[in-house]
Amino acid sequence: MRGNAAEHELVAPGSLPAVLDLLAGAPGQWTPIAGGTELMVAFAAGRLTASKLVSLWGVEELRFFDTSPDKLIIGAGTTFSDLRSNPIVAADFPLLDKAASWIGSIANQTRATLGGNLVNGSPAADSSPALLVYDAEIELISVRGKRCIPYREFHTGYKQNAMTADELLYAVHLPRRFANHRQYLRKVGTRRAMAISKVALGATALLKDGAIERIRVAAASLAPFPARLGKTEAALLGHRLNPSLIETARNALLAEAQPIDDIRSNAQYRKSVGANLLEEFLRALLSESAAK
């Protein structure tokens, strides 16, 4: 059954305060729609349950980069095309730049927004592993004011998040302290273009005297939502990097990952590939430190 435009109200108040007033006036009644790359797919298929939608497209207060020496703040309405053409993203946050290039096609990247990717909350979200290993913070806004939470606490379950019904995702804060970290991000999908991940893994690390001084590992599609792999990180932190530690880390990931079987892949494959990706990163780190 196809979607029927007459059954869905869509309004475009235009400014951020006007959108927030609308949300506050009827909490939970309005569904925000930005670039439509998710909700319009559901609409066309007749699966869109939201009957009242408020457009965020063209709300310029949500589409910005705010750069300071220690932070990059990215407005939630920033598109993946915007991310790909920002020089600070390319220089300081190359994993996010890479993830942005994976989002669908050019026509999807011009419309899909960073905030939309996070609020949609797909376990396979392309931008999530990068944001997790960069210690991103999420800034939420409502008529009551703004608040920040760590991104790793944003997703609370499958397609569930920490936002209240009157809140909008306002911005993503990225601390500019990862430039000297070794960084890794790889996505495995059916093909290179236009494919949703089967599994993706990101990591940032610092080595000191051959030991792992800092480590962050995050994955898409290894849990009901994109998440850091804290137990895998704990198995690595503070230890001397060697082949036996890599084996320990693989086993920690295999024990920690909770993937599912679905149309794109199955749990066994996702676990195996996740462990292989982690090993690929750690082997590169090892050969680099051996070369020093």
């Binding site: 979607g3 435009a5 007459a6 059954e7 869905h8 109200e9 869509l10 309004v11 475009a12 729609i33 670039g35 439509g36 790359t37 319009m40 797919v41 609409f43 066309a44 298929a45 939608l53 457009s55 497209w57 063209g58 095309s81 669908g104 096609s105 050019i106 026509a107 999807n108 011009t110 419309r111 273009a193 236009m194």
Partner: protein, 163 residues
């Protein structure tokens, strides 16, 4: 229920007002209300690129744009490529290189190629592949389409692409 609302668009240089439901897809407004049936529907979910048009200079899948979000924008469709009966250099190149077979992907391919050349007049083959990655073709095997875009890029000046 939602009421039909007047929405202004500039389509291929012409200012128009359509009175439609705000959630109606831009694709359907172009085809049903404006009878511009060059823009095709393939998958209806942003995967195939058949419905590619340009909106304020951005390439978009018109199946994923509620028309309210296109209000007051400039829309370019495949119908705007040829001028006064003279084909756009990309259309000419597709003809010469065999870039079109059954034709259903062709309007989207042309718009995605036009978008690519607008920002990158002399793309490499890799850049062409990325620029057209969101447009599926089930006939040609893509090589003749890529060659068409290369040929158009070689044979024309930047001013031609800007038109």
């Amino acid at each position: 229920m939602s009421a039909a609302t007047p929405i202004q668009l500039n389509v291929n240089g012409a200012n128009l007002t359509v009175t439609v439901q705000p959630m109606k897809r831009l694709l359907d407004v172009l085809r049903e209300d404006l009878h511009l049936t060059g823009t095709k529907e393939g998958c209806g979910e942003g995967e195939c690129g058949s419905c590619s048009v340009r909106m304020n200079g951005d390439l978009v899948n018109s199946c994923l744009v509620p028309v309210l979000q296109a209000a007051s924008t400039n829309i370019e469709t495949v119908e705007g490529l040829a001028r006064d009966g003279i084909l756009h250099p990309l259309q000419q190149a597709f003809l010469q290189c065999g870039g079109a077979q059954c034709g259903i992907c062709t309007p989207g391919m042309l718009m995605a190629a036009k978008h690519l050349l607008a920002y990158n007049p002399h793309p490499t083959m890799a850049e062409i592949r990325e620029g057209l990655a969101g447009n599926l073709c089930r006939c040609t095997g893509f090589m003749r389409i890529f060659e068409s875009v290369l040929s158009a890029a070689r044979s024309t000046t930047q001013e031609t692409h800007a038109r």
